[in-house]
C-alpha cells in the first residue's frame, strides 16, 4: 500500500503572516490621516475710535492760507493680522472741497495735499504723499505671518499748488486714506 506523504513545512510557513516582519501576528496597526487647511488671510483690524481724522478749520483766518500747525491724532487699527507673509499698502486722496467743484480762481486752491503713513506692520512704514508723482514707499512687505496694531497717521499738509494760495471756502474738505493688507503667496 502506498502511503501518502504528509504536508511539508513550507505550507506551515505560508500560514504565518509576516513572520519575518517586526509586527507580530497578534498585533494589528492601522493609521488614520487627518488633514485641514488654513487659508492665507488678512484681517485689517478694528479701528479704535472714530474713522475720521477731523482737522477742524484748515486755514489761518488772518491769512486765509493753510494753517501750518494742522495735526490729527493717529488712528489705530487694533488686532490686524495676516496668516502668511503679506504686504501693506497705503493710498490717500487729497483733501478736496466737496461743494466748490469748479476750478478755483487765480490765487486760490480747493485742495490740500498731505502724507499718510501706516506703521507698526513693517520695519519701514508704508507712506503715500498725495502730491507725489510716484510713491515707491506706499507698499511695504513682511516676510512672516503677523498680528499687531497698525497706526495710521497724516502729516505734511500743503496747499495743492503752493502754500501761497488761499483755500476757497467750503465747509467740507474731504480726503480718504486707505490701508490695505494683502496676503502674499
Amino acid at each position: 500500500m502506498i502511503k501518502r506523504l504528509t504536508l511539508s513545512l513550507a505550507a506551515l510557513a505560508l500560514a504565518l503572516p509576516g513572520a519575518a516582519l517586526a509586527q507580530q501576528a497578534d498585533t494589528s496597526t492601522k493609521h488614520v490621516g487627518v488633514i485641514g487647511t488654513v487659508p492665507q488671510m488678512c484681517f485689517g483690524g478694528t479701528l479704535n475710535g472714530s474713522d475720521t481724522f477731523d482737522l477742524g478749520i484748515l486755514i489761518d483766518t488772518t491769512t486765509g492760507q493753510l494753517r501750518s500747525d494742522l495735526n490729527a491724532s493717529p488712528k489705530i487699527l487694533v488686532g490686524s493680522m495676516c496668516t502668511s507673509r503679506s504686504t501693506i499698502t497705503v493710498t490717500a486722496t487729497p483733501l478736496t472741497a466737496q461743494g466748490f467743484t469748479v476750478a478755483p480762481p487765480t490765487g486760490f486752491s480747493s485742495a490740500v495735499d498731505y502724507t499718510a503713513t501706516a506703521s507698526g506692520w513693517t520695519a519701514t512704514p508704508a507712506s503715500y504723499n498725495t502730491a507725489a508723482a510716484a510713491n515707491a514707499a506706499a507698499t511695504q512687505g513682511r516676510a512672516t505671518a503677523f498680528t499687531g496694531d497698525i497706526t495710521v497717521a497724516i502729516s505734511d499738509f500743503a496747499t495743492t499748488g503752493g502754500n501761497a494760495l488761499r483755500l476757497v471756502a467750503d465747509e467740507d474738505y474731504r480726503g480718504l486714506v486707505t490701508v490695505t493688507l494683502a496676503a502674499v503667496n
Partner: protein, 171 residues
C-alpha cells in the same frame, strides 16, 4: 516374609498375547480451537495538522484537515470480523464567543482489506460497522469533510481530537 509388590497400574490396555487373533483400533481424539481475534500491531499514530486557520481571515482552513491520513497496522483472523470508526471532534478549551468557533468536526474513514468504515464527529458514538473479514495489514485512516460550527473565526489555542478504529472478531 513374602512381600507383595503391588503395582498400581493405571488402566492399561493389555495387549493380547500374540496368538493369532483379529486387530483392534483405538482412537484418541484431539481437539483444539482458535478464538476469533483482532489485534493492532501498530495501534497509535498522530496526525499533526499545524496551523488550522486561514491567515487571510482567521477562519478554518479545511485544506489543513481534508486528506490528512495515517496508517495503523493490525489483523483479524476470522471472516466475520468487523470494523467501526469513532471520530471525536477537535476542540480547544477557550470558550467561543459570538462570531467564533472553538471546534472542528470532520469525517474519518478507516480502510482495511479494501473495506471502509466511516464516522463523523458531528454525532457522538461510533459509525456503522463494516465487515472487514480476515486480514493482516494496513488500516489507513483518512480525514475529510472538515467544518466549524458557524464558519466563524477560530479561537486561538491548541486543538486536540482523535479517531478510534475498533476491530471486532465477530459481529
Amino acid at each position: 516374609m513374602r512381600k507383595s509388590l503391588i503395582i498400581a497400574a493405571l488402566p492399561a490396555v493389555l495387549a493380547a498375547s500374540p496368538a493369532l487373533a483379529q486387530s483392534a483400533t483405538g482412537t484418541v481424539d484431539i481437539t483444539g480451537s482458535v478464538a476469533g481475534r483482532c489485534m493492532f500491531t501498530l495501534p497509535n499514530k498522530t496526525i499533526s495538522l499545524g496551523e488550522i486557520s486561514l491567515a487571510s481571515n482567521g477562519k478554518l482552513d479545511v485544506s489543513k484537515v481534508n486528506g490528512r491520513n495515517e496508517t495503523l497496522t493490525g489483523w483479524c483472523n476470522n471472516t466475520a470480523a468487523s470494523m467501526t470508526v469513532t471520530s471525536t471532534q477537535l476542540t480547544t478549551p477557550t470558550a467561543a464567543t459570538t462570531g467564533f468557533d472553538n471546534r472542528v468536526d470532520y469525517t474519518a474513514t478507516a480502510t482495511a482489506n479494501s473495506v471502509s468504515a466511516t464516522d463523523t464527529s458531528l454525532t457522538a458514538g461510533a459509525g456503522s460497522g463494516s465487515t472487514v473479514g480476515q486480514f493482516s495489514g494496513d488500516i489507513l485512516v483518512t480525514l475529510s469533510a472538515a467544518s466549524s460550527p458557524t464558519n466563524g473565526l477560530m479561537v486561538a489555542g491548541s486543538y486536540t481530537g482523535n479517531v478510534q478504529v475498533t476491530l471486532t472478531p465477530s459481529t
